[in-house]
């Protein structure tokens, strides 16, 4: 244990409230990180239940269990909850827990704002989930909220809009906090190019959030005025254009998908060198590649709407910029592979999930490349091929990286090792079932099955049945994760400070679990080696 970790200044700032008030009023980055992660896990299961309903209905052709309106509500709510309720808060939770420890800071830069950005979320999602019980049902026009369809939403409509505003405020506040923390709170000696990649990917994610979320807020505000105040933004009859909404939405929406995946790149870049016992290959190229992806993410948006009608120059421009993203992403994948080349790897659960990420995310990347080519996209648009693509990048991409990160740092957070046997079961069940779930959807899409449809032609029956079986398997396997987390919090083998043999970085110099305020004194600048991951 290093000298730093032995200092405890918990009583430094007076008494802390206990019980429920501790969690409601906390300004501590670890408490808030825990709240974010637990909230995210809860949303993961609520959104997952909706996914189960979707797969249940699609198990066989015909309408068996739910009516089409409710089915569409499930599709819409599943996406909104998984994106804004599960993945984004999970990343902010990781950022809260890890960034101050990684940069040698005592806490986040703006602790009260931090508390607020978390405590918005339960209220925002209460609003969103309450729409399930409203006249007219929950929003059913898809998470992209395209007008004019979304304007037909019943009483749920203003609740949907305000919930989006509210969770957007949370994201912006969280992002501002991360950016201010990294730029203002680094320990002496922690230069920018020594930052762990998770920190780098998060600052860039922060920029993306601050620049794109307000645009979403603007877009949904115009939906609100179109519905209730007679404006004509998205009505061609008044000189506006429904396609305009799609442009504005995707100007937010495309950076958003990188918001969901960049921190995953950071986590994988931390895990692979640890279990390969080798420095990360091409640290600086990783940083520049992340920056390049972030920049490109702002000039590719219309590839989500190639088929909507656009001048040829637009189709070409957005196709070229889109496939260009493959270059920095390829740099990353090759760097991860090169890190593992001739290394001494072991395969603990975090490493398994990270390897699963690299392989399966790359599959999702390749199908994305196919979709990025305009004439090809004309065939694939709005089919199950798109569904397969974004679930490969978001489930076997983002969610796998979340699982990898959770296993990687859980011993640091709780002070106990998790149950490795159960965790390996969790990995293998997940990785097999998730491929059974999503891989057949590629074939369904190529054969022409449209997305967001509760019923389908009988030719698609077999693959849908396989996919639903995989879905059930994947859903049930995630319960294992909850069991593992609960066991780990309650006890288990004592974790060392370093936890993993090859672990590098400031967070591993602190005790497991770390003190309430991470670094109450700046770490020794000599101990900051940096550049390794």
């Amino acid at each position: 244990m290093s000298e730093v970790a032995t200092h405890h200044h918990d009583d430094h700032h007076g008494a802390h409230p206990t019980g429920i008030m501790r969690w409601l009023t906390t300004t501590n980055h670890k408490d808030i990180g825990t709240l974010y992660l637990l909230f995210s896990l809860m949303m993961f299961f609520i959104g997952g239940t909706m996914a189960m309903i979707i797969r249940l209905e699609l198990f066989q052709p015909g309408l068996q269990f739910v009516d089409p309106q409710f089915y569409n509500s499930m599709v819409t709510m599943h996406a909104l909850i998984m994106i804004f309720g599960a993945v984004m808060p999970a990343w902010t939770g990781f950022a809260n827990w890890m960034i101050p420890m990684m940069i040698g800071a005592p806490d986040m830069a703006l602790p009260r704002l931090n508390n607020w950005s978390f405590w918005i979320l339960p209220f925002a999602f209460t609003m969103l989930l309450s729409t399930l019980f409203m006249p007219g049902g929950a929003p059913a026009g898809g998470w992209t909220m395209y007008p004019p369809l979304v304007l037909q939403t019943g009483d749920a409509f203003p609740f949907l809009i305000f919930a989006v505003h509210f969770m957007g405020a949370s994201s912006i506040a969280g992002a501002i906090n991360v950016v201010a923390t990294v730029f203002n709170m680094r320990a002496p000696g922690m230069t920018l190019m020594k930052l762990p990649l998770f920190v780098w990917t998060w600052i860039i994610t922060g920029f993306l959030l601050i620049a794109s979320i307000p645009v979403l807020a603007g877009a949904v505000t115009m939906l609100l005025t179109d519905k209730f105040f007679g404006t004509a933004f998205f009505s061609a009859a008044g000189g506006g254009d429904p396609v305009m909404f799609q442009h504005i939405f995707w100007f937010f929406g495309h950076p958003e998908v990188y918001i969901l995946i960049l921190p995953a790149f950071g986590i994988v870049s931390a895990i692979i060198p640890t279990f390969a016992r080798k420095p990360l290959f091409g640290y600086s190229s990783m940083v520049y590649a992340t920056g390049a992806i972030a920049f490109l993410s702002f000039i590719v948006w219309a590839h989500h709407m190639f088929t909507v009608g656009m001048p040829l120059a637009g189709e070409l421009f957005f196709m070229y910029t889109t496939v260009l993203i493959a270059v920095p992403t390829g740099v990353k994948v090759f760097n991860w592979v090169a890190t593992m080349w001739q290394s001494s790897m072991t395969f603990e659960t975090p490493m398994l999930f990270a390897l699963g990420f690299v392989i399966l995310f790359t599959i999702g990347g390749f199908s994305g490349l196919m979709l990025g080519v305009t004439p090809v996209d004309f065939q694939y648009h709005d089919t199950y091929f798109v569904v397969a693509h974004f679930h490969y990048v978001l489930v076997t991409g983002a969610v796998f990286a979340l699982m990898a990160g959770a296993y990687f740092w859980m011993p640091k957070w709780t002070g106990h090792m998790y149950d490795e046997t159960l965790a390996k079961w969790h990995f293998w069940l997940s990785v097999i079932s998730v491929n059974v779930l999503f891989f057949p959807q590629h074939f369904l899409g190529l054969a022409g099955m449209p997305r967001r449809i509760p019923d389908y032609a009988v030719q698609f029956a077999d693959f849908n049945m396989v996919s639903s079986i995989g879905g059930l398997g994947y859903g049930i396997s995630q319960i294992l994760f909850v069991i593992i987390v609960v066991k780990c919090v309650r006890g288990g083998e004592k974790a060392t400070d370093e936890v993993w043999e090859g672990a590098q970085g400031l967070e591993w110099t602190l005790s497991s679990p770390p003190p309430y305020h991470s670094f109450t004194e700046a770490p020794d600048p000599e101990s900051i080696t940096g550049g390794h991951r």
């Binding site: 040698g104 601050i210 620049a211 645009v215 603007g218 000189g239 109450t520």
Partner: protein
């Protein structure tokens, strides 16, 4: 932005005590949203819920800022906290810029693409031919493709009347704000309070003139939110800006009250500067509005 040449010992680092204000903020905004949404859905209870939320929200603002001001005046904060506040405010303003960018984007898109296409330009020939063959592309768009459901208007607000004077007022207020800052820096409370008072008064005049312009547009010109894409972009952009000027004026008035009470020193006055930044930001947005909404 980042001052890497300044290092602070973490021993001096300040982590604020637990606070109930963020939670109250969430509860109050939640209450306002629920009230607003039920109001929009036509339920009678909406306005009451909205009012309760608003009162709670104002209470939260007084409480939260009151705590921060008290801590600041007690000298609790150090230089590092100050930098965190500055970064927070700067990025918040940037997020506001992007919020406005969405509405400006809508304006540009309508003028550059959707209206010409509806008029048959480019690949919009068939749209024009089969949907609204009589429609001709124009800006300002007096005649919407379909007149059903839209309010027709006779005339638009010209750039060289009230908007021109409002431009002068806002630009002047930017100068008087800097005058106040100069007064604060040289330690002259007289200049500070005079400059800030003039700024607040100019802000109020701006909002009043804008309100008068709206009244004129609605009653004399028939130009409303419902006047097709022109009315929509006009009122949303200027209205959203006017809302920001109102907020900025309230912020500056709060700062003025603090200055009268003797708060701020010549080197420690982040609260003042944050509001000044915000004021300059609404100023710059107005220039964009004046050029693209009123003028060209």
């Amino acid at each position: 932005m980042s001052k890497s040449n300044i290092t602070y010992s973490n021993a001096d680092y300040y982590v604020p005590d637990s606070s109930r204000w963020p939670l109250i903020a969430s509860v109050s905004i939640f209450t306002m949203f629920v009230g607003g949404a039920t109001l929009l859905n036509g339920a009678n209870i909406g306005p009451y819920v909205l009012s309760v939320g608003f009162i709670l929200f104002v209470y939260m603002l007084f409480g939260w800022f009151g705590d921060v001001i008290a801590e600041s005046e007690a000298g609790t904060y150090n230089g590092q906290v100050d930098v965190s506040f500055r970064m927070g405010m700067a990025w918040f303003i940037f997020s506001e810029v992007m919020f406005f960018a969405a509405f400006f984007g809508a304006l540009y898109y309508a003028r550059m693409y959707s209206i010409p296409w509806l008029g048959g330009a480019g690949s919009g020939g068939a749209t024009n031919e089969f949907l609204w063959p009589e429609f001709a592309s124009a800006w300002p768009l007096f005649n919407t493709p379909d007149s059903y459901g839209f309010t027709q208007f006779k005339e638009v607000i010209g750039a060289w009347g009230v908007p021109f004077w409002n431009t002068l007022i806002l630009l002047t207020s930017g100068v008087t704000c800097t005058w106040a800052h100069w007064g604060l820096k040289i330690g002259s409370r007289k200049h500070l309070i005079a400059g800030l008072s003039v700024t607040v008064i100019l802000g109020i005049i701006f909002v009043a003139m804008q309100a008068e312009e709206y009244r004129h547009a609605y009653h004399a010109l028939g130009l409303t939110l419902n006047s097709g894409i022109y009315g929509a972009t006009f009122f949303l952009l200027t209205g959203f800006h006017g809302f920001h000027v109102t907020m900025g004026t309230i912020m500056l008035a709060t700062i003025l009250a603090r200055c009268v009470k003797g708060h701020f020193t010549h080197e420690n006055h982040f609260g003042f500067e944050a509001c000044a930044w915000y004021w300059h930001f609404v100023d710059v947005v107005w220039i964009g509005l004046f050029i693209f909404v009123y003028w060209v």
